[in-house]
Amino acid sequence: MTENHNFLTENAGMRSPEKVMRLARLGSFHQSRLSFMRVLLRRMKQENWTVDRPIFDLDDKGVGVVTYRCKGPDRTYTLIVYAHDLPAEKRSDRVIADAWDATFTLYDGEPDQADIDRLAKNVPLQEAGRVSETEFVLSRANKSVRLFDYVCDCLSKGEQPEAQRLDEVGYLMRTTAVYGSGKFGAADRSKWSGRNEFQGSFQPELLTVWLIRCFAADWVEHMAAVKGGDNAVPLDADLRRRLGIGNSTGLGMAPFLIKHPALIHSWIHARETAFAIVCGIEKVDQREVTGFENLARRALLNSQNWHSQSDLQAPKIVALQEDLRKLIDALQTGILDQAYPWKTLYNWVEQNLSLEGQEQTVSLIIEQYGDRVDHLAGTMSADEKSAFRIDGNKTVGQVLQSIEKHYGWAKPIAFDTKSAQARVWYVSEEKLEPRLGERFEEDIEPYEQALAPARDAMRLRFTLLNQNDDETMAMFLLRHPEHRHVVRRLQVLEEAPYGEIRDNTIDEKMLPIDLLRCKLSFFGATKFDPKSDRWVRITMYQHAPYPEELGSLDPDDCFLPRLEQ
């Protein structure tokens, strides 16, 4: 597999890690057909999954239990919802909150009453409770109160809400954490990683989120019926679909990209491979040209519905809108009539559009070629154990070469200056969440996490330059165990060239939201709305089918808004 990766990287017209793995570019990524929520819905449609609601036991305050049962060809999963009546003063998106509007767990199979009772004592407590190996995901969500109340009010009077009001927020509820993979006692990833329906990454988590979106719509209709009685109406299907599910994500997610190089490589490598495959197409027909223009117009509409007050994001959205207009204009010049039209178009895009526009275009170019690229979704996971054991026979000289290859870009960084090491990644005592502090203003350096790979690689390099070139790593690490984690990382990167972010993760100007944006784009998120440089609100599954619509709608045609007829 290694040789294959390198072959593609060097010979098949793939964009290089040097180009792709910069924070500013990763922080401009958009969802694509390889994004995990799209992979999930595509599979569920192909396999005719069905979803029903065996329990819907909510009182007039909306408090109670609801279950959503998903049946696939081999297995059944159930989302168990605990709906609460939350006082406004307790509603916080921050991870240190201790109560939520609703709490959830994804159960492996069909729970009996004893399971529901056991989990009722734990799931509402979230981090303070414990789940078990029959639970795959633990999550919670809060209402967007203004929109929830507005929609509830309209429906209770027999009226439909205004589409524009729905678009302004985009969701009735937002999740504030979605925990999987063994967290708080849940099943380890190894329990489900071999299951066909969960190939790829984060599939149980995104199944959970899709079902939470369904609950949000069901919940508002229930409350409207309580309020309006016979006058109440359900939400119109087209309006309902305009509502996604929100998410509020902070720093807890940011170190993930640094801690899992082999996995990140697999994601980026799949997307870049897909792009290279499509760029290798020699000619396109009129249907493909028209199809692409239509996608570009839908992306423009999407960007026009993308609202952010953030100084960091708002100018990027304006630039994206301008980029997409330029792109649509360029299509009128016959640029796609040339040989290798997508490669030609991309070369123009790189010269003329912002990073937002460039990465949006990459996602759009892949879009029409599912038959050529969708299989790559199956490669978007990694066995992180395979490169764990250190090869002690490697010599100092070989490791220095490896540093040159993967961290040569870091050599000009003056790590002895304050600005280059201004930040410290640490874990707070409270809720054990990752945080980012100021090295020279707070007393936190003793708690620093190993999340500065470039600095650590340069420290290793400095030490190695004073060693004998022929010495083995086994001998070197016996004397210098403090460099062991870096040597292991280099070994991982030899097989995972897209695994390293080629920027200084402790620089004073580093923006953690770029890390979040990259990961969330692979989930399939849209409408990134940073609330600071270190937390972001997003929308997921907006325009996507609800479970009962999977049979009649193509989920891949639902991730961008439709043009008005």
């Binding site: 414990r130 707070s428 005592e429 054990l432």
Partner: protein, 195 residues
């Protein structure tokens, strides 16, 4: 408390770092604990007792460390040549020895304890005080013993709980005390989400 393997591994890294091991060896300690627990051997207790023997974080010394010595064996592939060896908690050597054994069984012995180790398993053949506090002198030899591999477990047994508590205490040393300022600065979130 029904611990998953993943959270136990995460805890083992933090605890080892808290006790003074460098990051790379803390990762090895985590690997070793999971390897042993998957085979129903008391990895959590062995690591907890080893970390207790270190003293203050600055006192950490790789010399008698089963993780440091185990890593050397795994890195170098030099198993027989590394023995006799003096370490604490020799059980923690087993996962590293298993990495370098090929097509044979090895006997790891100390005090009145004897462990058979193959490339994917370990089996206690004789034991007295398996997890004592003493510095132990260990030997390693090729064995003609055979044993059947047990089914691997992916959960941590409930009786490990007291030792998980010890690991939690060591892990605590790696967490920065919270202040409202650090909450706001460090997490960067606002105060009110009633929108």
């Amino acid at each position: 408390m029904n611990w998953s393997m993943g959270e136990t591994q995460d805890l083992a890294i933090r605890a080892s770092k808290g006790a003074g091991l460098p990051w790379g060896l803390a990762e090895e300690a985590s690997f070793a604990v999971a390897w042993l627990e998957q085979r129903n051997l008391p990895g959590v207790e062995a690591l907890a007792k080893y970390l207790e023997s270190i003293g203050q974080p600055n006192d950490y010394h790789a010399g008698f460390c089963p993780i440091g010595n185990g890593s050397w064996i795994s890195d170098s592939g030099n198993w027989l040549g590394s023995f006799p060896l003096e370490v604490r908690q020799p059980l923690l050597l087993a996962p590293f020895i298993a990495q370098v054994v090929k097509n044979k069984t090895l006997n790891l012995a100390w005090a009145q304890n004897l462990l058979h180790i193959s490339n994917n398993d370990a089996h206690i053949a004789a034991q007295s005080t398996l997890l004592g506090h003493a510095l132990e002198s260990c030997t390693l030899a090729v064995s003609d013993a055979t044993f059947t591999e047990a089914k691997h477990s992916e959960r941590i047994r409930d009786d490990r709980e007291p030792w998980m508590t010890v690991l939690l205490e060591f892990a605590q040393r790696t967490y920065a005390p919270a202040s409202e300022m650090s909450r706001l600065l460090g997490a960067g979130a606002g105060l009110n989400d009633n929108d």
